[in-house]
Structure formats: structure tokens, C-alpha cells
């Protein structure tokens, strides 16, 4: 259930398009289904009125799209940013990935997005339409005559249950009210895994990562993964564009993917959202964030433009890699 309505967003964008402030709009459009929302670039008011969508499945983080789109558009491009997207937006600005002058950022409040996998767990397959209905989602399926009512809170995506901030850290214009940074329990699951024995952890990750089909969606959606040439696209690497041949390749991909964004990951949760196999990829990223916070002091990537990421920084007093395990050894 979102506080802001689609009509408000369309009205705002049409106004900005017609007075020439922006020449294109980065927004959401309907894909195959109501819950299958696709990012789209709108250039006319008619197109917007017809195809623009705003519902509980508009989870896509648009920050990364700016890298490609700002170069393609004459004039400014309007982008909608939910609070968590603004952190990625700042992080990309820090890394000089797009021109801030070419972007008109509109901050919009977010009440948490729904996870279609959770909806399907409750109502089953064959969903034909989903509509917002107050606190609930009205889900119609092929097999039931009456639509099922599902509370939006019950099907909220994991990343939104543990939302870290409702505060926008970057915008040109804000619609609705700004929120606060939240003391979330986002590291609880990581701590639970850390408390396990190495054998249990190994079994857990073996089980999770063995589902990976190497579709690269986690990498492609990640706002921190913006290298033009990715190590995993290297034809000499033997792991380019193919499903993992064995458990080593699964682990290698996921360790390296998480490592490459360590210190720069804003914990937006896009990796887990786009994973077709529902692998909890954000746990790997959060493990790095948790460690970095513990080793080098609290750091939130993207909280401000120009901050130095912990892994490209150092102090002479840092802890030794061997000491990492001496902090209350759980495995001993």
C-alpha cells in the first residue's frame, strides 16, 4: 500500500515534461503481468498517461539506469527515487558514473514493496491481476472466482521488512513527507548464520548457491556493479556466460560478486529482488557491510556524496586479517 498515488506522479511528470524542465522520464511500466513491472523511458505525456504504473511491485532501483540513459537524452531526465534508491544515486555520483546536471530527481515515499514469491506462497499460481485495496492486495487467480485479499504487510519483500531508511539523501524535489533513518534488524539473519558451525554454514550456502543458474541478473541489476567490462564477461575466464559447472564456480561467482561491491554496496536489496531462484544474495552483501562496520567503524555507502569507501581507504591501525576470527570465536 503506497501513500502516494499513480495520478499524483503522472500529474507531476506531465507538468514537468510540458514546461520543458525534463525531456524524458524514467518510470515503471507494466510487463507481462501486474506484478511484472518493467522500467521504461517515457517521452510524451500520452505515453505516460497510458503506460505509467505505480504499485507495490515497482521495486526497481532506477539509479543504475541513469548511467546509460543520461547519455541518450537531450536535456534532463526525470527519475523517481525511493529512499533506498537515493543511497545508490549518491554512491554512483561519488563514483562519477553520471552527470548530476542531466538528472532531475524526484524523491517519492515508499511504504515497502511486495514480493511476488510471498504472494504466490499464499494464493498459489495462476495470478491474473493484483490491485491495491486499502491495506490489502486484491489478488485474482485463474482458479478462484472471488479475489483473495492479502495483507500487504504479510507479503512485504525481505529488504523492506528490514528497511534501513525512509529518509531521502538526494533529490531535487520531494513528493510527500520525508522519513527517518530506521534502526533496523537487517543484520540479524547474518548474525544467526555466523553463530552456526562452519559445517552448518557450508551446508546452508551449498544449498542456496546450488540453485544459481548464472543468469547474471544480480550483477545486471546491482547499482554498484557498473563496470563496462565485467570480470565475468572475460572470455578467458572460463566462467563467462554459462551456468556454473560445479559448486566451485557457484561459490566463486558469488564471493567475487559480493566482494567487488563490498564497501560500496548500499544494501538496496536489488540482487535478491531480481534473483529468479530466490537466493538470499543480500546476506552476502550484508555480511561485508556488517564486517566493515565492525572493523572500520560505521559506514553507510551513499549516505553522502564524496565519502571514501572503506576498502579503498586505510589507517595504520587496522586490524590484521588473522585477528578477524579472534573476536569472540564462535567456532572454537
Amino acid at each position: 500500500m503506497q501513500k502516494i498515488t499513480k495520478d499524483q506522479l503522472v500529474e507531476k511528470t506531465v507538468a514537468l515534461l510540458s514546461d520543458g524542465t525534463v525531456s524524458a522520464v524514467l518510470g515503471w511500466s507494466r510487463g507481462e503481468f501486474d506484478y511484472d513491472i518493467t522500467p521504461a523511458v517515457f517521452k510524451t505525456a500520452e505515453d505516460l498517461k497510458e503506460n505509467f504504473v505505480w504499485n507495490d511491485f515497482c521495486g526497481a532501483n532506477f539509479s543504475k539506469y541513469l548511467v546509460a540513459q543520461t547519455g541518450k537524452v537531450e536535456g534532463k531526465i526525470l527519475v523517481f527515487l525511493k529512499p533506498c534508491d537515493t543511497y545508490s544515486f549518491n554512491q554512483l555520483l561519488t563514483e562519477h558514473r553520471f552527470d548530476r546536471e542531466k538528472v532531475y530527481a524526484v524523491g517519492i515515499p515508499c511504504e515497502g514493496m511486495a514480493d511476488i514469491a510471498k504472494v504466490k506462497e499464499i494464493v498459489g499460481d495462476g495470478i491474473v491481476s493484483i490491485e491495491a485495496d486499502g491495506e490489502n492486495l486484491k489478488v485474482s487467480t485463474l482458479y478462484e472466482d472471488a479475489p483473495a485479499l492479502v495483507n500487504a504487510k504479510d507479503v512485504m519483500a525481505e529488504r523492506c521488512v528490514n528497511c534501513k531508511s525512509k529518509k531521502h539523501v538526494a533529490y531535487d524535489e520531494l513528493m510527500g513527507d520525508d522519513g527517518e533513518v530506521i534502526e533496523s534488524n537487517r543484520f540479524d539473519e547474518v548474525a544467526r548464520l555466523e553463530a552456526m558451525t562452519p559445517d552448518e554454514r557450508f551446508a546452508f550456502w551449498q544449498n542456496e548457491l546450488s540453485r544459481c543458474i548464472r543468469c547474471n541478473a544480480c550483477r545486471d541489476a546491482c547499482p554498484a556493479c557498473t563496470c563496462e567490462k565485467c570480470v565475468f564477461d572475460n572470455p578467458a575466464s572460463s566462467v563467462e556466460n554459462k551456468a556454473p559447472a560445479n559448486s566451485f564456480e557457484e561459490k566463486m561467482f558469488h564471493i567475487i560478486r559480493a566482494f567487488h561491491v563490498a564497501g560500496r554496496c548500499t544494501d538496496c536489496g536489488e540482487c535478491s529482488r531480481v534473483c529468479p531462484q530466490n537466493i538470499p544474495l543480500h546476506l552476502l552483501n550484508r555480511k561485508f557491510i556488517k564486517d566493515i562496520n565492525e572493523f572500520y567503524g560505521e559506514y553507510q555507502a551513499g549516505a553522502e556524496v564524496g565519502s571514501r569507501a572503506p576498502l579503498v581507504d586505510y589507517t595504520t591501525e587496522d586490524l590484521e586479517p588473522g585477528e578477524v576470527f579472534d573476536r569472540g570465536d564462535k567456532d572454537a
Binding site: L311, Y314, P321
Partner: protein
């Protein structure tokens, strides 16, 4: 039937300026360390990409050790400080995935510490041998 005796294979990434010279000194002083330690010379310990470590395990290493100059003594001023942060994060992640933490290590060995180099390698080889074969990051296609 002949049972192949298990010998651990250890890959040591040694920085050109300190640890590689330290290994050299160990040799000059006739200090012995296991022949299972294969040294790979790198310009600086921070040249070691996490992928190198995983690749070493894939190709059959049972332990990987990274040796560099003591913090503050880096030939390139700050390389080993970056190594220290990166490897702390990486080792913690490997442990998070359930991979034995004793298989990876970072040690600072200067060019004058031939004895430390030999002692470190002896001790590390022993630790890795007691863990046995690397099963959790192995790639069966690369087995000899």
C-alpha cells in the same frame, strides 16, 4: 593397491620487495621449509586479487598464504594497508561460507626475516596438513 600419500599443496604469494627476498634469505641460510610451498612472486601484496586465491584453491591448493612487507614498510607506501583491509573482509567472507579459516593467512615478512619466513611456512604447512585436503573449494575437473 597403492594409496597416494597426502601432501598439502600451498601457494604463497610473496611480494617482490620483502617476502620474496625473505624467502631468498631463508634459502641462503639453509633454513628448510616444506617443498609443498609454491611461491608466486607478485609486485606487491595488494596485487593479489581475491580471484587469485579462489583460483589457487580451484587448481588444487590446500592453503593460500599472502606475504608482504610489514605495514608501514611497503615499497609503494600503502599497498599492504589495502591488502590488510581486503583480506580481512575476504577471509571473513570465506569463513561465512563455511570454508576453513585456517586455510588462508596473511603474514608480514621483511627481507631480513628469512628465519621468520621458514618458520611461518613450516607452521602453516603443518596446520594445512592437519586440515587435510581442500574439499570445500575444490574443482574436480582440476584434480590430477
Amino acid at each position: 593397491m597403492q594409496v597416494k600419500e597426502y601432501k598439502p599443496l600451498i601457494v604463497a604469494f610473496c611480494c617482490n620487495w620483502c617476502s620474496y627476498a625473505g624467502a631468498d634469505l631463508a634459502g641462503n641460510n639453509r633454513l628448510s621449509y616444506p617443498a609443498d610451498v609454491k611461491i608466486i612472486r607478485v609486485p606487491c601484496s595488494c596485487r593479489v586479487n581475491p580471484m587469485f586465491i579462489l583460483r589457487a584453491f580451484q587448481r588444487g591448493a590446500d592453503g593460500v598464504i599472502i606475504c608482504g612487507c610489514h605495514p608501514g614498510d611497503c615499497h609503494y607506501t600503502s599497498g599492504n594497508y589495502y591488502t590488510r583491509r581486503r583480506m580481512a573482509a575476504l577471509f571473513s567472507m570465506l569463513d561465512f561460507l563455511g570454508i576453513e579459516k585456517e586455510r588462508t593467512r596473511v603474514e608480514w615478512v621483511s627481507a631480513a626475516e628469512g628465519a621468520k619466513f621458514a618458520a611461518t611456512m613450516n607452521e602453516f604447512a603443518e596446520t594445512v596438513a592437519s586440515l587435510g585436503e581442500n574439499k570445500r573449494l575444490e574443482d574436480l575437473r582440476c584434480k590430477r
